[in-house]
Symmetry: C2
Subunit: 155 residues, 2 copies
């Protein structure tokens, strides 16, 4: 991974450009660091990031419908079906028809699915917890404010 210090102007007060580029690189390398630990676990199981995203959002929204999951993940049903099928076949996700409409398939994690999701997301929680601990409560609050604003801008 590139050493961020090579990008810094030598001792001069940072221009807006430099400061924003630093932030861009922090986000880029930070996100890479953030996704690396679960990626390693996924690789052990022959799974990819899309599997983690499915496990995560199904875990967050038990009984979510297939169609709703498509919306959350922002992919087509063709893109969802193969990895979802794989997770169902591996016994990590369970599916049943909804009581109110038997066309609707509702998804939930199995016990093993919850365990794997906890392991994957747990790796990310550990990282974030450590980053927040190092920064302090005020830094964490600031981080939240900035990230909320970033997400909001995307709407």
């Amino acid at each position: 991974m590139v050493d961020l210090t090579i990008s810094r102007a030598p001792s001069a007060p940072e221009s807006d450009d430099a400061r924003l580029r630093k932030a861009i690189e922090l986000l880029y390398f930070g996100y890479r660091a953030f996704t690396a630990p679960p990626d390693r676990i996924l690789e052990e199981r022959g799974l990819g990031r899309v599997h983690h995203r499915i496990l995560y959002f199904v875990g967050r929204n038990p009984q979510i419908s297939v169609n709703a999951l498509l919306g959350v993940l922002g992919v087509t049903k063709q893109a969802l079906n193969a990895p979802l099928r794989q997770l169902v076949d591996m016994g990590l996700v369970a599916t049943d028809t909804a009581a109110h409409d038997r066309r609707v398939r509702q998804l939930q994690l199995t016990v093993e699915g919850e365990a794997l999701e906890a392991r994957l997301t747990g790796a990310q929680m550990v990282q974030l917890e450590a980053a927040f601990a190092r920064g302090g409560a005020q830094a964490e609050a600031g981080w939240h404010a900035v990230m909320e604003a970033l997400v909001g801008a995307g709407r």
Copy 2:
């Protein structure tokens, strides 16, 4: 994009789990929001994110060698060559042999390459600047501290 509020426990003080999951989702959706504007520009040109990364890091490190760029991007030379060739062919990147070692190819952005890079990265700067402005200077400092810690943990 999913409404984040649906994931929040109703009115209860957040547990560590809930607060860390919120942070995870902020990072996930924030990064998605962050990459969307340049993605749209790239799509117009028939380019992808890998092209932006090349433009960005070549711009940041004029005269960077091919091998060093591989290290920064964390890809193999086979993965780099096709998009790099495309950018060279489009007149966005220039390449010449190094004075000290003619085996070494050094890369730099052309005027057009700089213009496109400025446009792509500019879109991201605008977003970050707005997020920082909304959060305030202290929030920005906190964000930096947390992201530095996150990047550092990846090493």
